[in-house]
C-alpha cells in the first residue's frame, strides 16, 4: 500500500466532517473517491496532503506516518495535490506555472517535453498568462504542474469541475495514461461514471463515512450506487 488512511477524523470547528474513515491506495492503482456535494471528499484530500489538520487517525504514505507533517514537506516525499478549481497561478505565464511545479527538484531537460507531449496545447500557449486559458486548458496545466514534481502519488480533486463532457473525456483518458506510466492516482470526483470507468477501485463517501467500496466495475453495476450517483432511476 502506498497510502493507507486509518481512523481518520477531521473537524471544522466543532462540526465533524469526517468520522473514523479508513481507506487504502495500492501502488500503481487508480482509486476513485466518489460522493455527493458536501460528503467530505475534498476534506479527505486536504487532510491527506496536510493542508488541514486532522483531529485523529493516521495517514501512512510510502511507509511513513505523514499525518502531522506540513504540506510543503509532504510534497517532497512524493505526493502531489491538484487542488479543487485547479489553483493555477493566474497572473504567471504557462511556462512559469510549469517551472513552479518542479520547484522541489531540479528541472531536467526532458521534463517539460514529456509534459508537452501529454498536452501539446500547453507548448502552444507557453508564453500566455495562465489566467487567460480556458477551463480545460487550466486543468491540463494544473495536472502538468503536479506531474513535474515527479510524484509517486497524485491526488486529483474534481478534475472535471466546470468542463464540457468532451474535454472531461480527454482529460480522464490522460489521467489513465499517467497512471499507466507508473503514477498512482487518487481521484476525487462527483462525476462518478467517468471516474469509475478509468479507476481500478472505488470508495463511495456519504456525509463523512464510506458506505461502499469495491472494484470500479462492481460499483458501476451496484444497484444502490447506480441509484444514488449514476443517475439511474
Amino acid at each position: 500500500m502506498i497510502l493507507s488512511i486509518k481512523n481518520l477524523s477531521v473537524n471544522y470547528g466543532l462540526i465533524p466532517a469526517i468520522r473514523n474513515l479508513s481507506m487504502e491506495v495500492g501502488q500503481g492503482e487508480t482509486v476513485a473517491l466518489i460522493g455527493a456535494n458536501g460528503a467530505g471528499k475534498t476534506t479527505i484530500l486536504r487532510a491527506v496532503s496536510g493542508l488541514i489538520k486532522l483531529a485523529s487517525g493516521s495517514v501512512v504514505f510510502d511507509g511513513q506516518d505523514i499525518a502531522r507533517l506540513k504540506s510543503h514537506l509532504i510534497v517532497r516525499r512524493g505526493m502531489s495535490h491538484v487542488p479543487e478549481r485547479r489553483g493555477i497561478f493566474a497572473n504567471l505565464t504557462v511556462y512559469e506555472n510549469l517551472l513552479m511545479g518542479a520547484y522541489i527538484r531540479k528541472l531536467l531537460p526532458g521534463d517539460l517535453d514529456e509534459v508537452y507531449s501529454l498536452f501539446p496545447i500547453l507548448l502552444e500557449r507557453k508564453k500566455q498568462i495562465a489566467g487567460t486559458l480556458s477551463g480545460g486548458e487550466q486543468q491540463m496545466l494544473a495536472i502538468s504542474r503536479a506531474l513535474l514534481s515527479k510524484p509517486k502519488l497524485m491526488l486529483l480533486d474534481e478534475p472535471s469541475l466546470g468542463l464540457a463532457p468532451q474535454i472531461t473525456k480527454s482529460i480522464f483518458s490522460i489521467i489513465q495514461k499517467i497512471n499507466k506510466a507508473g503514477t498512482t492516482v487518487l481521484l476525487v470526483e462527483q462525476n462518478a461514471q467517468a471516474a469509475l470507468k478509468i479507476s481500478h477501485r472505488g470508495y463511495v463517501l456519504e456525509v463523512g463515512e464510506i458506505t461502499h467500496t469495491d472494484t470500479s466495475e462492481a460499483l458501476l453495476t451496484n444497484d444502490a450506487v447506480r441509484k444514488a450517483y449514476l443517475g439511474d432511476h
Partner: protein
C-alpha cells in the same frame, strides 16, 4: 552575472557619479533636492512592492521600517560618537547599511504575524507597528524625542541615493526572476496551490518582509543623511500611505511601475506648487483620474519593457 551585465552596471554607476557633479554645478538646489527625494521615493516604492505587489500581503507600516533605518543609521553617525570614521562618506555608507539591517530585523518581527493574518487584518497590524515605532522615537530622549535629531552629517547626495536606486532595482529584479522570486509570486497567486508545489509559504512571506524592510531602512538612512535632520514626524502614518499610493499607481508587482509611482508621488506635489493650497485638492484628483483610467496601475502587473514588447509583436 555575465560580464556584459556587470559592465553595464559599472557604466551606469560611473554615469551616476558623473551626473552627480554635473547636477551639483548646473542645477538649482531646490530641483536637485526634488530629484533626490524622487530617488528615495523610488527605493521605498520598489521595496514595498515586494510585500504588497509580489507577495500579496498588505503592509501599511513602511514608514516604520524607514524610521528604523533612519534612526539606527543616524544614531551611529551622531549620538554614539564611536569614531571619526563614521563622519566620512564610507563610514556613513556603513551606517546606512546597518540601518537597513536593523530595519530587516524589524521586518522579521512584523513578518511573523503575517503568517496568521491576511488582507485588512495584516494591514492593521503593520499600521500598529509603524505607529509604535514612531511613538518610541517620540519618547526616547537619547534620539531627541519630539525635538528630533539634528546635526546628522549630510553625506547622501545624488550619487549615493541613485546608486542605491540601481542596487535596489537590480537586486529585486534578479530576485523576482529567480525560482525564489517565483515562489514569492506564487504565494500571492494561490497559497494552497503554492503549498501543493512544496513551497513553504511561511518562509517566503517572512523573506519578503525582511528584504523589503531592509531596503526601506536603506531609504530611511539615505533620507536622514540627506536631510541632516530627522524627527518622528517624518515617519507618520501618512508616509506609509504615500508609499502604498506609489505602488498602487505604478501597478502592483511591477518594479518599473513602482519607480514611476515613486517619481509621480514625489514630483506632483512639487509641480503643483503654483496652485498654492489648492494643490492638495488637485493632487488627489489626479490620482483618482489615474486610477479610473488605469485601474490596475500604470503598468499593471507588467514591467515597462514588457509593455513595449507586446506592442511590437502584435
Amino acid at each position: 552575472m555575465k560580464i556584459i551585465q556587470k559592465s553595464i552596471l559599472l557604466i551606469i554607476a560611473l554615469a551616476i557619479f558623473g551626473l552627480n557633479y554635473f547636477l551639483e554645478d548646473n542645477v538649482d538646489g531646490y530641483v536637485l533636492r526634488v530629484i533626490i527625494n524622487c530617488g528615495i521615493g523610488m527605493i521605498l516604492a520598489m521595496s514595498l512592492n515586494l510585500i504588497n505587489g509580489c507577495a500579496g500581503q498588505f503592509s501599511l507600516g513602511h514608514a516604520g521600517f524607514m524610521g528604523v533605518g533612519a534612526y539606527a543609521s543616524a544614531l551611529i553617525t551622531t549620538v554614539l560618537t564611536l569614531s571619526p570614521f563614521f563622519k566620512t562618506d564610507l563610514g556613513v555608507g556603513c551606517a546606512i547599511l546597518t540601518g537597513g539591517l536593523a530595519a530587516a530585523v524589524a521586518g522579521y518581527l512584523v513578518g511573523l504575524p503575517s503568517l496568521r493574518l491576511r488582507g485588512d487584518y495584516l494591514a492593521i497590524v503593520t499600521l500598529g507597528f509603524g505607529e509604535i515605532i514612531r511613538i518610541c522615537f517620540l519618547n526616547f530622549e537619547q534620539v531627541g524625542g519630539a525635538r528630533g535629531l539634528p546635526g546628522i552629517p549630510r553625506v547622501a547626495n545624488f550619487f549615493w541615493v541613485y546608486l542605491w536606486v540601481v542596487v535596489t532595482f537590480v537586486a529585486l529584479l534578479r530576485l523576482l526572476r529567480s525560482s525564489y522570486g517565483r515562489a514569492i509570486l506564487s504565494v500571492r497567486e494561490n497559497e494552497i496551490a503554492a503549498e501543493s508545489m512544496g513551497i513553504n509559504i511561511a518562509h517566503y512571506k517572512i523573506v519578503a518582509f525582511v528584504i523589503s524592510s531592509f531596503f526601506a531602512g536603506i531609504a530611511g538612512g539615505l533620507f536622514a543623511h540627506f536631510q541632516s535632520f530627522i524627527d518622528p514626524n517624518s515617519f507618520v502614518f501618512n508616509k506609509s500611505v504615500e508609499v502604498v499610493i506609489m505602488v498602487v499607481i505604478g501597478g502592483m508587482g511591477s518594479l518599473s511601475g513602482a519607480m514611476l509611482g515613486g517619481i509621480i508621488v514625489t514630483l506632483l506635489p512639487e509641480l503643483l506648487r503654483a496652485f498654492d493650497n489648492y494643490r492638495m485638492v488637485i493632487f488627489p484628483l489626479i490620482l483618482i483620474i489615474l486610477m479610473l483610467v488605469r485601474p490596475r496601475g500604470i503598468f499593471g502587473h507588467k514591467e515597462i519593457w514588457e509593455l513595449f514588447r507586446k506592442k511590437a509583436s502584435s
